[in-house]
């Protein structure tokens, strides 16, 4: 029981530290003042570099073939991708770390 409590408090402490770090990072980045010349806050380098120079040379990006960049649809797709990706990463990590590698002869049991 004491072991369980110790593990839980370790987990809570770690989670709080991670959340505080994320909150500090987000506070720092969202309160950061960009130069007045920037039309949009936090553009990706695909916009600020790739598409900018491409446009200067007469090339413009097409609308994607499957255009999920419509309203909140993109947020949903990214949430879905993050969930599936995170699950796959966690599942694979668990298989790698917590399941012991088979030792010689042990496979006869199955």
């Amino acid at each position: 029981m004491s072991k369980l409590i110790a593990h839980s408090s370790w987990f809570v402490a770690k989670t709080v530290k991670i959340l505080l770090a994320i909150a500090a990072f987000l506070f720092f980045t969202t309160s950061y003042e960009l130069p007045a010349s920037c039309a949009e806050k936090w553009p990706g380098v695909d916009e600020s570099v790739v598409e900018k120079y491409a446009k200067e040379h007469g090339r413009e990006a097409w609308t994607p073939f499957i255009n999920t960049d419509q309203g909140d649809l993109l947020l949903f797709v990214f949430l879905l991708a993050g969930t599936v990706g995170g699950f796959a990463a966690g599942y694979s990590w668990r298989m790698l770390v917590s399941e012991k590698s088979p030792k010689a002869g042990s496979c006869n049991k199955t």
Binding site: K52, W62, G86
Partner: protein
């Protein structure tokens, strides 16, 4: 709930939250940016690397079953990292690390290229991120250049006696920077028209620097952290993947 399950749940939640926090701002070359001839050329260049990746994956998976979860982990890591926009306050822009450095170190450069190709295809199809016409160019920059730069940097530094952490850090940095260097080459050669190549190439490369310089350092730290973490948890796996020598594991 044991630690690994908690870790998996936390990882899923964290990744989903981070991806949700902003729309798809990234570095992949967007759909239609490159003229057809250049897009086709980069696609043709990328094909043999992807084919070799499939062959290598089949060979390794036949030899060792424990290779599959490692590939699964690396595929998820490359997919998540390469569509996770990170704000860079020094530049006021967003971009993302690539994850190819760590993948190349652990599963080899060819399997890393295959993983990258799959991640880029999913992103182009469903996340409005990159593009199908620029798939080949993005495979070459992120997959081929990133994987080989990370792999060779790691191997060279290890031969020179660097620790796992230092070699992993440098591999992550060079994998990231090599990706953007190659993107600059692809973009400059594709869009230049009649203008000379070199001035445009330098212009694009310099424009990437304020964002990618700090992001490269972040990628280096992530790569080093992951290699060291795996060393602590499964050193036998690193020996199996020839990242570490057996005598180093014993030490």
């Amino acid at each position: 709930m044991n630690h690994d399950r908690k870790f998996a749940v936390c990882l899923t939640t964290l990744v989903a939250t981070l991806l949700l926090s902003t729309s798809a701002h990234a570095m992949h070359i967007s759909e239609g940016i490159l003229p057809f001839s250049w897009a086709a050329l980069w696609f043709v260049i990328s094909l043999p690397f992807v084919a070799l990746g499939v062959k290598r994956l089949n060979t390794l998976a036949k030899d060792d079953l424990s290779f599959k979860p490692l590939v699964g982990l690396m595929a998820a890591v490359v997919f998540i990292i390469s569509c996770m926009p990170v704000p860079v306050p020094t530049a006021g822009t967003c971009s993302h690390p690539c994850g190819t450095g760590i993948a190349a170190i652990l599963v080899g450069p060819f399997v890393s290229i295959l993983i990258t190709a799959v991640a880029l295809l999913i992103q182009a199809l469903f996340l409005s991120h990159g593009g199908l016409t620029t798939w080949g160019a993005n495979i070459v920059s992120m997959g081929v250049a990133g994987s080989f730069a990370g792999y060779f940097t790691f191997r060279c530094l290890r031969r020179m006696g660097a620790t796992l952490g230092v070699a992993g850090f440098a591999a992550g940095i060079f994998a990231d920077w090599a990706t953007y260097l190659t993107t600059s080459v692809e973009l400059a050669s594709g869009i230049r028209g009649d203008t000379p190549f070199l001035p445009l190439f330098w212009k694009i490369l310099i424009a990437f620097i304020p964002t990618q310089l700090p992001l490269g350092l972040l990628e280096g730290a992530m790569t080093a952290g992951m290699v060291v973490l795996l060393y602590r948890k499964r050193p036998d796996l690193l020996v199996k993947m020839k990242v570490l020598k057996a005598e180093e594991m014993a030490a």
